[in-house]
Subunit: 362 residues, 2 copies
DNA sequence: GTAACGATGGGATACGGTTTCCGCACCGGT
DNA sequence: ACCGGTGCGGAAACCGTATCCCATCGTTAC
């Protein structure tokens, strides 16, 4: 019945075990390990030997409790298997690891309840920031909820970062990392129009998704700029997946078969559209041109290779993490500065082989 | 100069702040929140009101220190953008969230140093398990290192889980979740052989990667079973990426252009191979058949859709997490049982449109 | 009417580190 | 030989929560 548990206990070794075995004080061990206090060479050697012998690692929980601890960021994502999001996650994770930070991930599966639960969970973890990936839904209630999240995290010394969606309205303590979504769509549609296409099937995505709204707006603006009437009947909304692309084209071939090009809201949607056209005996791009959006690897792996809009997803992830890190260094000083709270990265069209002037068979 | 920091301090509220404001003891607040101890309705109401007012959340670090805490698993992955790994991660994360567990991810980028650092970092975090994804390298030193990891984690009350690779040799405290890699390759090659193909270009992957070794062995066995001589000159090793598939086919078309089918080690490699064949003016599958491995979404999005081997990646993730959870529940009792430490899931061929008997043009 | 008991709430302590504050020893200078 | 300074190691006070143990109060049984 010893006062303290035996050194040879099953669980992990504590700093006290190390101190005892090395015949020094607990404080000394801590100092040797953190290295922010002068210790004699002799002491360091003795301690390090025991640390190796016991295979000791410090308890991260205890360490963060006491003040130190490695910063952690949380990445919240709808679906980890989406290539675009995966690239953002890669950017965040890479930048985090580079500075010794940790990253937690959670997937929400498009469920607002899970999102709520996860944000709270992350708040408990005392994360340096919560990074939310993907387009937002354009419901007022959703926006209000985000604002509440932002304030709540801010009050707890954390921070909310929105990636790939428009910033929140009002004076909300959140950082947004966005890309020129509408501009990319404008450029992409212009590319199609300047090739001579006039009847274009548009598959922007879900009507309530901010991403889809921006892409649709960009396309409309391009039509206006070219003086081409925009036919709302040629727009079909739906999820960003392969099946939607396939089915939308199937339906369009039945209803309005006179289109000569497809402006897909996503590369994956474009892939589905392409397959549906082939199934109907049409050739791409000889009979129908197709363009995508995102420039994920798939775009260059399709046949023909897809002309699409490049979005710097991985860089967005890096930028998001840097924003958090900077803010953490900066600390006070720029409390109310709304500057730098909204970063916008550029997009550009990548021309490949899926577009051809209409009516030019062969 | 108060003894304790003011309740209205900037940082997050503590349980003590709540207790003070509600006029109860710290213990009572803890009990109300954890709910594992009888408390009067009056007390509960008073506490919960303050909790809401202060937007209080418990400090996860303190909680884990004190014994409670939500279990966490760490997922270590080479490259998060790989579709197959992403699906495993999804399986793990999904199953984890289902039981209220948390998941940390780290990417190693194929760098053994980073892998080492990450395992240690995760050990500090006191994770319930470290789940390592992807094929292993067949170096002795690497195997030894893994064994050391396993023992180290085991000693710290954690556990190592290997997913998608062969189990470690010897009496190592690790769990392996594997799939019938060789069997899948055998079936896939048989499919090609039974269609009449005899000259097959084989792109198994990196020679040192256990995954590639298994797929190659399976193919060889199938050739033997069919009594078809296996030509080592038709095997080209390389990374599991699009570029390798493309370049390998380009080179093969130059060196040994008489092949009628390509047995790719991965769907992505198959995509590259397909593109290279097209670039050379060959049709798939009329002139050359192609098969892949993994059955990621890309396989069904290519044209023609790819015949491939389905690997239950997401399920592997779920199974891995369940293994960890079971072991944690089970606790003692089955210490030395090597049973159940190696789980193997089945694979099967998915027939699509990329295979045709050779020489049947049209 | 009183003793025993169940239901609750409070105080104290442990969890594993970090860090501040102190004291000790050893150094050289006069 | 005495004194002040410097460098290094130790004791103890936290960090925020869970839980054990005990005190109290209202009940029920005898």
């Amino acid at each position: 019945m010893s006062q303290r548990k035996a050194t040879s206990d099953a669980g992990r070794a504590t700093i006290r075990d190390v101190a005892e075995r090395a015949g020094v004080s607990v404080a000394s061990v801590s100092r040797v390990l953190s290295g922010n206090y002068p210790v004699s060479e002799e002491l360091r050697r003795r301690v390090m030997k025991v640390v190796r012998d016991l295979d000791y690692v410090t308890n991260a929980h205890a360490r963060s409790l006491a003040g130190g601890g490695t910063p952690t960021v949380a990445i919240l994502i709808n679906n980890i298997t989406g290539a675009a999001f995966a690239h953002v996650a890669k950017g965040v994770e890479g930048a985090a690891t580079l500075r010794g930070w940790l990253s937690l991930v959670g997937t929400t599966g498009d469920d607002p309840e899970r999102e709520l639960a996860l944000v709270n969970l992350m708040r408990q973890q005392g994360v340096a920031a919560v990074i939310l990936l993907g387009g937002a839904y354009d419901y007022d209630e959703y926006q209000l909820r985000m604002a509440r999240f932002a304030r709540s995290l801010d009050a707890a010394g954390s921070h909310l970062v929105l990636v790939g969606r428009p910033p929140l309205e009002g004076d909300v303590p959140a950082t947004t990392v966005d890309y020129d979504n509408e501009g990319g769509a404008y450029a992409m549609a212009s590319h199609l129009l300047s090739a001579g296409h006039r009847r274009v099937l548009v598959l922007p995505g879900h009507a309530e998704l901010t991403t889809a709204q921006g892409r649709l707006r960009g396309a409309q603006r391009a039509f206006e700029a070219y003086g081409v009437p925009f036919d709302p009947g040629m727009v079909r909304h739906g999820p960003y997946d392969y099946e939607h692309g396939y089915e939308a084209v199937e339906a369009a071939l039945h209803d309005t078969p006179d289109f000569t090009a497809v402006l897909a809201g996503t590369d994956v949607v474009a892939a589905g559209a392409m397959q549906a056209l082939r199934a109907a005996g049409l050739r791409v791009p000889e009979d129908v041109s197709i363009v995508g959006y995102d420039d994920i690897p798939l775009a260059s792996q399709l046949t023909p290779q897809l002309t699409t809009v490049h979005v710097p997803y991985e860089e967005m992830g890096r930028v998001a993490l840097r924003a958090v890190a900077d803010r953490r260094e900066g600390g006070a000083g720029r409390r109310k500065s709304a500057d730098g709270d909204h970063l916008v990265l550029g997009t550009h069209v990548v021309v490949r082989n899926s577009v051809q002037p209409p009516g030019q068979h062969g």
